[in-house]
């Protein structure tokens, strides 16, 4: 994919959230998206036609992260109310509320089989919640972090989480091993490459760092944007050719993966770009911002 194919034209603006939008996530096939924001709602959209489909209300505080199962049947979300909500998509009801985090929950993800929700909290812990049983107790608490856990990613066998203590920790369930990669800078967000070999970590020194997961080696650093105080997302394009990240000045940046040059950058929002999500198949990226809008960009 050349740089010309990168999304740069605004295709849709999803408006409806009141206040900042903190997270925007495509579903697995990219036909729908979920956004969550300060207005305590989760909204389901068709981002390609710009249609608002449903609103999920139950959170008592802002929604910080949301994730949907591959079969689009369930949603998990988390936020400032210290709870992880497990939703039924079609009815819009909360199936379960997982309480246990001592503080705000920053990120949440389903595992591959949608049987476990793993949440990362400000209380320096990762918690795994069981969706199959009716228990609302966490099935595992990982509290080896030294500071707030900002982001979590799951593979088939591993839990990877980035924390403000500067580490990206990989918990390999199969081996029973914890690998801690200390980056020396607070990690804001982590994102897995699509081939699963690398992890991209957004650090608060306005640098994105690409780590080789097998060796823990720093492969590349991407600079040019501003990321100093906000929880902001970063991701790789679906071809793994470019790195996408927002900036606190409202710009969206595309870096070349290998030589770390800024391939494209444009003003996407008037304010901080909080969330970036790349379409799983198309050349399409979705950005959410503090200015309350979600924008869909296409090539």
């Amino acid at each position: 994919m050349s740089a010309e194919d990168l999304p740069k034209n605004e295709a849709q603006v999803l408006k409806g959230h009141e206040g900042a939008v903190l997270t925007a996530r495509f579903n697995k096939d990219g036909n729908y998206c979920l956004t969550g924001g300060k207005d305590r709602t989760i909204r389901l959209w068709n981002p390609h036609r710009g249609i608002h489909i449903k609103t999920y209300k139950a959170h008592a505080r802002e929604v910080r992260d949301v994730h949907v199962t591959p079969d689009n049947s369930k949603i998990c979300s988390c936020g400032g109310d210290r709870q992880v909500f497990y939703w039924d998509v079609s009815t819009g009801r909360v199936i379960r509320k997982f309480r246990g985090h001592d503080s705000e929950v920053n990120a949440v993800k389903f595992n591959e089989y949608s049987s476990v929700v793993v949440s990362a909290g400000y209380d320096r812990s990762l918690r795994a919640w069981d969706c199959r049983s009716h228990s609302t107790e966490p099935i595992q608490i990982i509290d080896t972090f030294l500071d707030s856990v900002m982001s979590v990613c799951l593979t088939k066998t591993e839990i990877i989480a980035g924390s403000v203590d500067g580490t990206v920790r990989t918990f390999d369930i199969r081996i029973g091993r914890e690998l801690s990669d200390d980056l020396g800078q607070p990690v804001n967000c982590i994102s897995l490459s699509n081939d699963g070999n690398c992890v991209l970590a957004s650090c608060l020194d306005s640098t994105l760092r690409l780590l080789d997961r097998t060796s823990g080696e720093l492969l590349q650093e991407y600079k040019g944007h501003t990321c100093k105080s906000f929880k902001m997302d970063c991701c790789l394009t679906n071809s793994d050719a470019h790195v996408v990240g927002g900036s606190e000045d409202g710009r969206l940046f595309f870096w070349d993966l290998v030589d770390a040059s800024v391939v494209s950058s444009f003003r996407a929002h008037s304010s901080v770009v909080t969330s970036v999500s790349y379409h799983p198949k198309d050349n399409c990226v979705m950005t959410a911002s503090v200015d309350g809008s979600v924008r869909v960009w296409k090539a």
Partner: protein, 945 residues
């Protein structure tokens, strides 16, 4: 007195005296006086004239039933036939049949009832006619049922037939039916069929076609009513061609009427889809045959149309068809027009444009002009850089014999490359007479000069390109991968031959670099000294190979997916360590520390105590600047990888569909049961994990020693690390009551190891008597807090005090754990002595087995057995490194035992435990324990025999 009264005759009514009037009565009188009447109704109590409240029954009103205990009402008592309940049905004064019928019956009767027709209209064509016109208008907007154009000229609007005109004269109005349809009970079934259709069109009652539809429905509902037939008009059916692919009468939305609306929105032309199913039966080719058939009821292909199938509404439809006939031409014409317009959009009737088409025109865009393209032609002569790309490299020739000449040639070549061909001209003119510069004019060394010039040009041009991160010494930065490839890649062997000439003292940079490069990559054995420099892992060829592999991979760049595959035998941590070393070495090379004299040592780079044979060769002087080395460390510090043990919950593994890596190991301790627990234990957990790593590194002995003994020792160390702290705690708390138990249980633990039962029994027999006494002594000693060494215990005491000061641990209280560490170290060191002690060990085991029997004889308490089970399981797991506290607890018992036994014995017993574990994997299970117990019993029996 009663008898007295009979004698008297009274006249008049006796005056009641005050006191005779009961209080109740008084009250009622008072009420009646109106004083109480002012109370609110719900406060008033109903009483009879006696002032009593009357109880009607708990479920029939209590004390107050009816209207203040009367059958009256507010308005007074009015007899009524029937008053009803909630919805004021009482107002229906006049009852008729319908009041007594339920819905089904009503529906049945409906056809027979009389009703007013909406169609009745005194003033002729008003409402009906308006509606008709509207319908016509609408029809124009519909696609036609007949595809294809029909020009207006062909379809000439027909004038009204004479019959119609006659009838109009007679007072007939369009749309009114003439014939009265026969009424029959048979019609009901037909009606239902019609209703099914109506249900389809129910939601299509668009306000526009309101009256018309009302007509239609009235007709449907009342058509069975022969009397009113004349006043009714036949409905005008909006002809709506069937546009879907469903069969006639099939309703795709039968079960889901919600979607009908949805569907209609998709078909914009079909505002009144309800009508659309009706026309085909009139317009179709088979209209004659199917005309009279009720819609919704199909006739099989082989069935004949008979009376049953005839439509009850035949008359209506007949007429309707007639009317249609009249209107048809205009309608068709208009529709055709519409159709043509539709056609213009390239859409066939009955089809709708796909929202997303599979077919996509493949476009071939013109080639994109690069962004940085400047429409300005660059002539190749002006740029050396472009030039050299096309230039063929001159033949590579060996340098001239004369060293001075060689240096001169190289120098000139470099200068020429830098300053351009003009310089060459200049120097040629200047040094015309100088024989040294013959090479400029094609003399001695001309070929070499050409070659050098070309190389220099390459170099010069490449300076423009970003320099790759190479192991280029700072003073030879001009050398890039490309030029080096040219130098080395083409004829590396040839170059190395040239290198056999020892380098002069003042070589130019290029030559120097060539030396280094060729040493690194081509012929390492040609030069001894540079080889050592660039081969940091010379002592370990395998490692050196890996290092080279690493270097290669590193400079290939990009995302590396595979780890070094050949080092799969190495442990993860070892690999990580090695990688770190490689990185440091590479860094050092890049920074020119691998130059001629300076050489960093492994210690300085890695900050790890050395002396393990993995070090960098330290042949040269160690003049490296430490500060730079530290910089390297800093740089390679982030990202820093650490590895810990982590235990996933078993249910987590299950949910992730993975096998629990800790399956079969005892469950993890309950997390932080109390503050104290977490305080004491949690740090230990982490420490144990790091300790594992440490021991790994410490056990990186020379390869010869890294056999399985080394590994076992590693495991043992881990075990010990896990154990030590809690033992102290437990000991501190439970030392008094656990002592005797531990002693006995340990003996029992060892019982199942004995592999030679017969021998054991022999020994047991011989030593039985002694043992009884010994056991007694032992237990007595324990009671008194003394340690009584077992009698036939042959000990090889390790020189413990010398190792007590091992630097690994500094726990002041922890003499036990110290011993354990020592024991392990001895284990590895003293394995050579193990052969000597084999026999002794055997006897020892026998003795243990028999003593356990004695134990069982003496103690049969449940607690004791529990201990035993714990002990056996812990031994089964002794070799595993686990962070289980119960384990630690159990290990304390082992340690007690060890106090009395030699390290040799313990190591042997340990080995046997492991063996035993492999035999019976479910070492923890109860079954195991029972078996154990049974074995013991059997043996006992045998020994008695």
């Amino acid at each position: 007195m009663a008898s007295d009264e009979e004698d008297f005759v009274f006249f008049g009514t006796p005056i009641e005296r005050e006191e005779d009037i009961t209080s109740r009565k008084k009250k009622s009188i008072a009420e009646a006086s109106g004083q109480l009447r002012t109370l609110a109704p719900w406060k008033q109590e109903v009483r009879d004239e006696e002032g009593r409240r009357r109880f009607h029954g708990a479920f029939s009103g209590g004390f107050s039933a009816g209207y203040f205990n009367t059958v009256g009402s507010k308005e007074g008592w009015t007899p009524q036939t029937f008053t009803s309940s909630r919805k004021n049905r009482a107002e229906i004064k006049q009852q008729d049949l319908s009041n007594f019928l339920d819905d089904d019956e009503k529906a049945e009767l409906e056809g027979n009832s009389l009703g007013t027709s909406m169609q009745f209209d005194t003033f002729g064509f008003t409402a009906a006619e308006v509606a008709r016109k509207q319908v016509e208008k609408e029809q124009n907007e519909r696609p036609s049922a007949i595809p294809g154009p029909a020009p207006d000229e062909i379809v000439v609007p027909a004038t009204d037939p004479i019959g119609v005109r006659l009838m109009l004269k007679m007072g007939w109005r369009r749309g009114h039916s003439i014939k009265s349809s026969k009424t029959s009970s048979l019609y009901d079934a037909r009606r239902e069929a019609r209703k099914a259709f109506l249900a389809l069109s129910e939601d299509a009652k668009a306000p526009v076609a309101g009256p018309t539809q009302a007509e239609a429905e009235d007709d449907i509902e009342l058509s069975t009513d022969g009397v009113s037939q004349l006043h009714k008009s036949t409905p005008v059916y909006v002809l709506n061609p069937k546009q879907d692919m469903h069969g006639l009468g099939y309703d795709p939305f039968k079960g889901a009427p919600e979607f009908r609306e949805n569907k209609r929105s998709h078909l914009p032309g079909n505002k009144e889809s309800g009508h659309k199913r009706q026309p085909p039966k009139k317009d179709g080719l088979f209209s004659f045959k199917t005309r009279n058939v009720a819609p919704g009821f199909g006739i099989g292909a082989l069935e004949e149309l008979d009376a049953e199938d005839e439509d009850v509404y035949a008359s209506g439809y007949d007429f309707e068809a007639f009317v249609e006939e009249i209107e048809e031409p205009t309608k068709l014409a208009i529709e055709d027009k519409k159709k043509t317009t539709v056609k213009q959009h390239g859409i066939l009737p009955g089809f709708k444009p796909a929202t997303n088409s599979d077919y996509q025109l493949e476009r071939f865009d013109p080639p994109v002009v690069p962004k940085d393209f400047v429409p300005h032609h660059n002539f190749p002569a002006t740029s050396e850089v472009n030039h050299k790309m096309t230039e063929l490299p001159p033949k590579d020739v060996p340098p001239p014999e004369d060293n001075n000449l060689k240096i001169l040639i190289e120098g000139v070549a470099t200068l020429v490359a830098r300053c351009g061909p003009l310089f060459e001209e200049l120097s040629r003119e200047k040094n015309q007479s100088n024989p040294l510069f013959d090479f400029l004019n094609g003399g001695n060394g001309h070929d070499y000069y050409k070659r050098k010039l070309w190389e220099a040009k390459q170099k010069h041009g490449d300076k423009i390109k970003p320099l790759l991160k190479e192991k280029v010494t700072p003073n030879t930065q001009k050398m890039t991968a490309e030029s080096r490839g040219n130098i080395l890649g083409e004829k590396p062997l040839l170059r190395s031959v040239a290198k056999d000439v020892p380098a002069p003292v003042s070589v130019t940079e290029t030559v120097n670099l060539q030396f280094h490069l060729s040493d690194t990559f081509t012929e390492p054995s040609s030069f001894v000294e540079p080889t050592e420099i660039t081969k940091p892992f010379q002592h370990d060829p395998a490692k050196q190979d890996r290092f080279e592999q690493y270097m290669k991979e590193k400079y290939h760049g990009g995302l590396r997916t595979k780890d070094a595959g050949e080092s799969s035998k190495m442990s993860e941590s070892a690999r990580a360590r090695e990688r770190l070393e490689f990185e440091a070495a590479a860094e050092a090379i890049t920074q020119g520390k691998w130059g001629k004299e300076s050489q960093p040592s492994g210690q300085q780079i890695l900050g790890v105590p050395g002396g393990r044979g993995l070090q960098f060769t330290s042949g040269g002087s160690e003049k490296m600047e430490v500060s730079r080395g530290e910089e390297t460390i800093e740089k390679s510090m982030f990202p820093k990888r650490e590895e810990f043990q982590w235990r996933p919950a078993s249910i987590l593994c299950k949910r992730f569909d993975l096998i629990d890596p800790y399956m079969g190991k005892p469950p993890p301790p309950p997390r932080s049961r109390s503050k104290l627990d977490s305080l004491i234990f949690m740090p230990d957990y982490v420490k144990a994990a790091t300790e594992v790593e440490k021991t790994f590194s410490n056990n990186k002995l020379p390869v010869s020693q890294l056999d399985e003994k080394g590994e076992t020792s590693v495991e043992d160390v881990v075990e010990v690390e896990n154990v030590e702290r809690p033992v102290d705690l437990y000991k501190a708390i439970f030392s008094d009551d656990s002592d005797d138990e531990e002693g006995s249980s340990n003996i029992i633990i060892n019982q199942p190891q004995s592999e030679d039962p017969t021998k054991k029994i022999e020994a047991a027999n011989t030593t039985l008597s002694r043992l009884v006494a010994g056991d007694f002594l032992e237990s007595l000693g324990k009671e008194l807090g003394l340690e009584v060494p077992p009698e036939n215990h042959v000990n090889v005491k390790p020189p413990q005090p010398t190792q007590k000061s091992t630097p690994q641990k500094q726990e002041p209280i922890n003499s036990d754990s110290h011993k354990d560490i020592n024991r392990i170290q001895e284990n590895s060191s003293k394995n050579d002595a193990s052969e000597l002690n084999h026999e002794k060990r055997d006897t020892k085991v026998e003795r243990k087995g028999s003593s356990s029997e004695d134990d069982r004889k003496r103690k049969r308490s449940k607690r004791h057995r529990n201990r035993n089970r714990n002990g056996s399981s812990s031994d089964g797991n002794a070799s595993e490194s686990s962070d289980d506290y119960r384990d630690r607890d159990r290990h304390s018992s082992r340690r007690k035992e060890r106090k009395k036994e030699s390290s040799r014995d313990r190591s042997s017993s340990h080995g046997r435990h492991r063996k035993h574990r492999s035999r019976d994997s479910s070492s923890k299970s109860r079954r195991y324990d029972d078996k154990d117990y049974g074995d013991g019993k059997r043996e006992k029996r045998k020994s008695r025999d």
